[in-house]
């Protein structure tokens, strides 16, 4: 049975269990239900939980274990000389998996023919619509049939275990129903456990991010030393040919420079515009202007970044090239730092403005009133009283916006270019960490080559940088809020 059938079976039996539990509790209580320790629905839910939960847990656990076991089987059945070449290993494993899929398609007669060598496995698979790139090697056939054996065995085991768990749970819970059973408490405790589980998904995600990135990044650092990565000035990863051990140069610095340079221009656009519009909204705008302008500016944050990227690529880029870069003789590419920075800046305006707006309005009314009463103009109040008081918060907002800019992908993929330059010319093509992550993971993925794995090293670096900025910003904002609460 496939997992979907199993799920359907679990759902069906659980519902049946609910009905049974409900029915039994009603029968037990007789006419007056006062003798029951909980309402009948809870007895139903009690049986339902006992039926569904163990079966689901077993299903999930075995589904996770299956790929591990399968891969282990394949490795155990591969000959020494294949295992000796770790860069080829994942390629070999997927080759064996393909052969295994082919063996399942073939009929018994064809299998026999393959075994005695009358026909090649490749021609049989091709007849069943599975063309292979090369002839099937004997050891692949052995590993593949072992794989099929284990996989089929596991599938049967899963079926049996799930059905057994369902039957056991249903009967166990049904038998245990007595009027004095505190079904509600048991059900509520289970629900509470589920709620706790749901809330720890956030933690699991973080752990997942860190572990998965770290694992692949460490593999990369075993091939390329961290020092030559973080302090290298040349980015030239070469082409990732399958199995080739040739590796290029992975210098992080030009990418970092591109990222910082583009983010700098983005902040140059976003901070003044964002701050001044926040000031205008908080101090000058009538409520009618505010109710129109504020949502309009916030639309900017809701537009998908791919749209900004396209806008940069087709509208802003050519304009910058034709009217600024070429006349000044500084460059002739539509992909440049200014374009990417400008468009990214537009995207970030609402982050700066709405955060700062919140922070300005959080400054106690008394400070503002005091300043105005002393005869200061609104702008003087803003500059000399509110802004200093709100400064930590504003810094936090700017840092958050900065981390957005550094992690932004689609705008730079489309508008910044792919050449890893480290120049000061803002009209030059430059590239960023995120662009290179996307570039390195396009096309055929070979999880053993440094060309692919470098993306994860870049990813964890990006994660650490943005995490640092966020933590810093959130701490500053939190400190600031406490100051006035």
């Amino acid at each position: 049975m496939g997992p979907l059938w199993l799920l359907a079976l679990i759902a069906g039996l659980s519902f049946f269990g609910f009905v049974l539990g409900h029915w039994k509790s009603v029968v037990l209580s007789g006419k007056g239900r006062s003798t029951l320790a909980a309402r009948p629905g809870y007895y139903g839910a009690y049986v339902l939980i006992w039926t569904a939960l163990p079966a689901l847990l077993i299903l999930v656990a075995l589904s996770i274990a299956k790929p591990l076991l399968v891969e282990h089987t394949v490795r155990a059945n591969l000959p020494e000389q294949v295992l000796a070449n770790p860069t080829q290993l994942s390629l070999e494993v997927s080759g064996v998996e393909q052969v295994a899929a082919g063996l399942k398609l073939a009929s018994a007669e064809e299998l026999e023919n393959i075994r005695i060598g009358v026909v090649t496995a490749r021609s049989v698979f091709a007849r069943h619509g599975l063309p292979l790139g090369e002839d099937v090697k004997p050891y692949q056939l052995i590993a593949a049939s072992a794989l099929n054996l284990v996989a089929d065995g596991l599938d049967t085991a899963v079926d049996i275990a799930v059905v057994a768990a369902l039957a056991f749970g249903l009967i166990f819970a049904f038998v245990r129903i007595k009027p004095r059973l505190r079904a509600r408490n048991l059900v509520e405790n289970t629900i509470l456990a589920l709620l706790i589980g749901a809330s720890s998904v956030a933690i699991l995600t973080t752990i997942g991010i860190v572990l998965s990135l770290l694992f692949q990044a460490l593999q990369f650092f075993s091939m390329v030393s961290p020092i030559s990565f973080y302090f290298g000035t040349v980015w030239d990863p070469r082409f990732a040919a399958a199995g080739s051990s040739e590796s290029g140069q992975f210098g992080f610095l030009p990418l970092f420079w591109g990222t910082i340079y583009i983010s700098f221009f983005a902040m140059l656009v976003a901070v003044p515009i964002g701050l001044f519009s926040a000031v205008y909204m908080a101090e000058y705008a009538t409520s009618r202007v505010r109710s129109v302008a504020k949502p309009l500016i916030e639309i900017l944050a809701g537009i998908p970044t791919i749209v900004y990227g396209f806008f940069a690529l087709t509208t802003v880029g050519p304009l910058v090239r034709d009217f600024v870069a070429v006349p000044l003789g500084l460059g002739n590419s539509g992909n440049n730092v200014i374009t990417a920075g400008l468009v990214m800046g537009i995207m970030i305006i609402p982050y700066v403005s709405s955060l700062s707006d919140d922070i300005f309005t959080a400054v106690p009314r008394s400070l503002r009133d005091g300043s105005l009463a002393l005869g200061a103009t609104r702008s003087e109040t803003m500059r000399q009283v509110i802004l200093p008081a709100a400064l930590p918060g504003v810094v936090g907002a700017v840092l958050l916006a900065m981390s957005r800019a550094i992690g932004e992908t689609m705008i730079v993929v489309l508008a910044a270019g792919v050449a890893a330059n480290a120049s000061l010319n803002p009209f030059a093509e430059m590239t960023t960490i995120t662009v290179k992550i996307v570039n390195q993971l396009t096309g055929d993925l070979e999880f053993t080559s440094p060309q692919t794995l470098v993306a994860f090293a870049l990813g964890i670096t990006l994660f650490v940088i943005t995490l640092g900025l966020n933590v810093l910003a959130l701490t500053i904002v939190r400190k600031y809020r406490e100051q006035y609460e």
């Binding site: 790929p67 509600r184 509520e188 509470l192 709620l195 589980g197 809330s199 998904v201 956030a202 933690i203 995600t205 997942g208 998965s212 990135l213 692949q216 515009i273 701050l275 001044f276 519009s277 205008y280 101090e283 000058y284 309009l296 500016i297 639309i299 900017l300 809701g302 537009i303 998908p304 791919i306 749209v307 900004y308 396209f310 806008f311 087709t314 509208t315 537009i346 305006i349 609402p350 609104r378 702008s379 003087e380 981390s403 550094i406 992690g407 932004e408 992908t409 993929v413 489309l414 992550i437 996307v438 993971l441 396009t442 993925l445 993306a455 994860f456 990006l462 994660f463 943005t466 959130l474």
Partner: protein
């Protein structure tokens, strides 16, 4: 008199003598000028921001609105059995196999008839064939394969014109440019005019944009597959992130004791909301594809990754909605003997539901526009067939836009803008629903 002047409010400084003195004292004119400048800066900032928005929309709509109409060439096609099924076998398999060029012959025959081209004039015929999309013959073939009873009949068929003819009709390729710099030559223009006069060449609503899958020919390319893929992903996100998000926030808001663990979760969620989305893509690639061997570029994997990216947003908004329910509701529930769990699920959650749904819809809208993580898990394949299940390879609307945006052909730019307009319309609709929900059900306590 002069001594009191500086203490008078600015509006009462009518006397010129007094005004001169007070200006010297406190520099009012300079300060008011600074005030006006400051105000003008603020106004300018707001205006610039709104101008950016208008320019952005303007540039995309002006590039893309033409793509909703497309040039068609309607012709009578004679499904001649001698050409379509030369060996008499009319089954779908026989139609799909064999010499594919025979369908070009069908088109050539109807072009010769419609344009009255001399059967011996081969050059003239080729010029006329240039006007039709190169995808016309495969289109005829699958038409016949789907309905073999067409063989032997005569039908009018709507063909797509090539992207260049389409651009010429819409005026993006101009006739007053010298012929050598034009993609549409003079001989083509003659034919186009002739087709126009006979009413066979016309602009029609571009249904193919919404229904077709990927194609290398811009006139045949559409976002159909991408729409289905995005729909599947949104379903996965909705099914996973709504229960997970609501359950998680109920625990954190209603049950969690104040301790280090919940503090940690809280800090975590805030940070996750700010992690770059591409990092989630890397997580998806490493865990779902490399480790769990889920199929690449399947909408299921896309949905899983997007669930992780939207979950923090949904948790944050749901918690705000739960927090907005006044404590008196909880106290009343507990007071009449309900358990904590009953109070939350029977009273607090229903009251917070409008806020939860609003947050979920906004989270979904974010997920719909998310591109970078989908690129990581390979949802940018060239997919022609509709995905039947979420396990089949598909593309998504934003990744389709990305793929088209990197195509050099002009006709693709038009399509890209049109796809963006479609995406923005969806986002607008979702956000409007969220706002309407909030307006309709929001309670002020």
């Amino acid at each position: 008199m002069t001594e009191t002047a500086s203490r008078l409010p600015a509006s009462r400084l009518g006397n010129p003598e007094v005004r001169a003195l007070s200006k010297a004292d406190i520099g009012l004119r300079r300060r008011y000028a600074a005030e006006r400048r400051f105000r003008a800066y603020g106004l300018a900032a707001v205006t610039i921001a709104i101008c950016f928005l208008l320019v952005l929309f303007g540039s995309i709509v002006s590039k893309g609105y033409t793509a909703f109409l497309q040039t068609r060439i309607t012709m009578m096609v004679d499904f001649d059995p001698a050409i379509v099924a030369p060996d008499g076998d009319r089954s779908a398999a026989a139609v799909m196999s064999g010499n594919a060029f025979r369908f070009d012959d069908l088109i050539a025959a109807s072009l010769q008839k419609t344009l009255e081209i001399d059967p011996n004039d081969e050059d003239g015929l080729y010029d006329a064939l240039d006007l039709l999309s190169k995808g016309s013959a495969p289109m005829l073939r699958s038409m016949i394969a789907n309905d073999p009873s067409l063989i032997g009949t005569k039908r009018t068929v709507d063909f797509y014109a090539t992207g260049d003819v389409d651009a010429f009709i819409k005026g993006t390729i101009r006739a007053d440019v010298p012929e050598s710099q034009r993609l549409i030559k003079d001989k083509h223009i003659v034919l186009i005019d002739k087709l126009k006069q006979e009413g066979s060449l016309h602009l029609a609503f571009n249904t193919g944009l919404f229904t077709n899958g990927a194609s290398t020919r811009p006139e045949m390319a559409g976002v159909g597959v991408a729409l289905v893929g995005s729909l599947y992903m949104m379903l996965v996100v909705l099914v996973l992130s709504l229960p997970l998000g609501v359950a998680g926030s109920i625990y954190l808001e209603e049950f969690a004791p104040k301790n280090r663990w919940t503090d940690l979760i809280e800090v975590n969620i805030n940070n996750l909301a700010a992690v770059p989305s591409i990092v989630y893509g890397l997580l998806g690639l490493a865990v779902f594809i490399n480790f769990a061997h889920l199929p690449r570029s399947a909408s299921l994997v896309g949905g899983l990754v997007l669930t992780l990216t939207t979950l923090p947003t949904i948790i944050i908004t749901t918690r705000a909605a739960l927090k907005a329910v006044p404590p008196s509701i909880r106290e009343a529930g507990l007071g009449i003997g309900a358990s904590k769990m009953q109070t939350v699920f029977h009273h607090v959650l229903p009251l917070a539901m409008p806020g939860v749904l609003t947050g979920t819809i906004i989270g979904l809208a974010h997920a719909l526009g998310e591109t970078a993580p989908l690129l990581m898990i390979g949802m940018k394949a060239f997919i022609v067939e509709y995905p039947a299940t979420p396990f089949d390879p598909a593309t998504a609307l934003p990744t389709q836009i990305y793929m088209w945006a990197t195509e050099p052909e002009r006709a693709f730019t038009e399509r890209t803008s049109a796809a963006i307009i479609i995406l923005l319309v969806f986002l607008l609709a979702m956000n409007s629903i969220a706002i309407i929900l909030r307006r309709a059900f929001e309670r002020r306590w």
